[in-house]
Amino acid sequence: MQRNTLLEYRNYRYFKIASLLTISAVLAYLFDQPAMGAYGGSWLGYLFGILSALIVVVLTLYGVRKRLPSIRTERRNSLNASSPQQDVPDRRKRQASWLRHHGATLQGWLSAHTYMGIALIVLATLHTGFQFGWNVHTLAYALMMVVIISGCYGIYAYLRMPRLMTANMGGINTFNALLLEIDDLDKQASVKSLQFSDDICAVVRKARQETLIGGNFFRQLTACQRNCPTAKAVQQLRLLGKSLKYDQLKSFDDLFLIMAHKETLVRRARLDVMYRARLEFWLYLHAPLSIAFLTALIAHIVAIFFYW
């Protein structure tokens, strides 16, 4: 069973459209020799500018579409036959099936979003005619580039993290189940540790009380806790075990295994948090900056007409 990724959506439909657009834009740019040199005010410059702005609008609408899944709801009410006799007009049925096959899914939207967004790099740059300066125009351009670059990271994360996450969970179904299992190991370890010396107990207690999963932004992204008490406990137990009497060893091994197992699970939980953070954090840049960019763009357009 194979699913298309969003890049491959409908046999690279939007890749093809975006490539066509950029290639023709580059060709037009090369062949066009405006009297005043290439800049945003030539007719081709205007064309590129307007085209870019339209694309930006569509890209922003993605955020709207994402949150409103049901703009078309209740369209098919006549198909809502609760009694079997109700006859369904063929036309409605065909319409419904057409929509199902051709109507855009969010995956389709995101596929278009990605390729058109990247095409913007070329279109907008050609629009400027490489005229940059310290002004609101270039501010808009710069913001756009940051949005696009963050978006590219997003796509990278979307394509890469899911597999890592599935593999990392290793058959445990939910994050909560993982936490419960860690908690359970903690309890077992504290009970087991009671029969040993105070320093062993202390190490185990510290591991139980001070091990952190998640936490601040940095911890989430890097999946580590400096001097992680659990990792340390495993290390120290290794040393402490050496001074034990022979008849305690069997029990001690049990304790050690529990702690070692906990260490792997804690690692897994941290990695899971990390993957989720990496899937998400860039959006906190991408989404607000896209609004900032939109504002700058409006300022740019207003400024142009003001100068006129």
Partner: protein, 805 residues
Amino acid sequence: MTEKFKIAIIGAGPAGLSAAAHAAELGISHILLEAAQQPANTIHKYQKGKLVMAEPAVLPLRSPMAFAAGTRENILTLWHEDIQRHKVNLRLGAQVDGIKGERGHFQVTLSSGQSINAEFVVLAIGLQGNIHKLGIPGGDLPTVQYHLDDPEEFKDETIVVVGGGDAGVENALALAQQNRVILINREEEFSRCKEGNFNLLQAAIKAGRIEPRVSSRIDYIDSETGNGFLLRVVAKTSEGVEIIPCHHVIARLGASPPRKLLESFGVKFPNSDITSVPELSEQYESNVPGLYIIGTLGGCPLIKQALNHGYEVVEYILGNPVEPADEPLLKQKISCFDASCSVREGLTFIRHNAPILAGLTALQLRELLLESNILTPKPDDLIFKYDDYTSSFFSILEGELAVVVKAKDGSEIYFQIKAGNFFGEMGLISGRRRSATIKAITDCVLIETPRRSMLKLINSVESVRQKLDEVSMKRVVRNCLTNTLPESELNYLLQGATIRRYKAGDVLFHQGDKADGLYLIRRGSVIISQITAGKEDVLSYVITGNYFGEMALISDKPRSKTARAASATEVVLLKAPVVIASLERNTDLRDLLAARYRENAHDTKMIEPQDKPGNLFTFLIRQGVGEATDVLLIDYSLCIRCNNCETACANTHQGIPLFNREAGPTHSHIHLPTSCRHCEHPYCMLDCPPNVIHRSVNGEVFIADGCISCGNCKNNCPYDAIQMVAVNPKFKKPGLWQALTGGAYQSEKNSIAGDDSPKKAIKCDLCKDNAMGPACVRSCPTGAAIRISPEALSLTMRDSSAVLE
């Protein structure tokens, strides 16, 4: 001395109360025997504050007991007043365990050993059955309960819950929120409860919120007054005797269905099926003369019907031929085809013109008709279309219809069927889409019977099942093999043919077995697999409307593959010698099978994901996907865990997500979330008293208005796809602004209404009202979520280049 009454009424539910109140009204000597400590025990056990519905709305009420939709508490108070007012001779705590004798001389014995004589007996003990109690010293102390109304009533107490079934586990989980809970299970594992409950329980045990005692049983309970506890439970556990001081014991040990009891009274059931209802006369009299059966026990699931039965049965006993309350409704139905005839004449006409219904008792026929529609299509009117997802059953009273089927090569073939016949049984049996289009040729009169009523009938009346199977076998052969088979050949092929039924996982035949015949599937689906070098490979997935097992017949060798039922399956098995003989004569048939044989000779294996070997398809089948029609799968190699799918579901369904993305098993990178699978034969539909769970023509299983919140569907669904929720009627779909500012989906705040508003069963409806299809799938940014049928899945798994769109 034994007491003597004219009528002994057993069971003080709505039916029994109504009968007793009417007898009291008429001044007839009677006694009403109730096992519980209060009348209307079934209603009493409803959840607190439950809104009791008065369905069906069109049925008039005829009973001395008042009844209208209202809260449980209101209705119970009303009935208590009615009991007082009519001076009903009610005896509580009187459990009947024996009835002997016949009309005029019945002897009714109670579990206390007392006995009562009566001329007539009315049985109204409902279907709840006798709750099993702890048969130990202390089992009837007041703080030992056998049901749980409201878990919130208990706080900071120690509670011992007994029983490892769903009821016990659910109670334990609910109580564990605020109490210390000890769960006692007789068995070693909690294998009797549903997977969802099992997982929650495991988590609760791990988290220390529930303390389990397995392989344990209680020896005795005594009341203890010391240190604040009320009870002392003495239990034998696997580790010896344990003494548990506690405040309450709640035992959920199940109930024995009343059938055994009824059989011990001499009442006969038509067959062993659990849904079968005892045969009754038009006047509710059973095969034991003088013993009457009314209420749910007699096959009518709702309160209003039960109340009406109570009134009518007393009149019948007195010999008054009252019109049943539903007479005007029947009259109205019959007037659809003949305005002038009486109900009795109409019923005779039906019996005569629809032989399949001829074997019904008058009562069964009346009920059937009440639940059915009479259709009078004109020439050329469409009854149903090929591929529609409907499952009602049609009997032809008058007229002629055309059946249009698609042959295997795509051309259309016509048949005619006439009055006296029936159709629609294929969809009913298979739970799949219609295999033909049916149109009226002349003016017709049809009875359209809904799926549930028809299934009940098939399971209660042997003659219906026989007639149905006889015709169905022929149609199955035509449908699975070829529609052009001549009648004589058909009859020949069916010599010695049998219908076989299998449960999911049963083996139909093993690799190496001698070939016993040709298998035609009329319900369910089958997995064909082969063991090579010790490893089992799934080769194909065969669904209803197809045949298999031809290879060994043609090659005359033992079976080269194993066939296993993927879900509950029914096949028509044609005997090997008959098929072989027929193949020798009939070249068309031989060519047909030979073509398939060659095609299968180089069968390809199903493609398995590379990153984790193991059989994905087998995994899915084991998870019950074989009985699904549309299942939500998530490709975890694409899913970014954003839960946008759930959010979209909530935003389109009163703010409540109808599935749980994270819960559910994962195999390789395919995740099977906890969500509705729109089963071929939905379990949730099995026992919905107001019958409001339907399947739309497109196949979506949904709950229409009229849910009485009994929770049966939730309990019956093995896949945890139904929730009971108090939906906030004021929920508004989020507007654009709300959506953009993040206020869109606020399940808890916006949609779950206060405690006192009525709960309703809600489940996935596949966004049937939206032209674009399910919101979950549409709203997945990475395309990880898909909805698919098992057969489509099996096809894509056999073709490595296939991509699921």
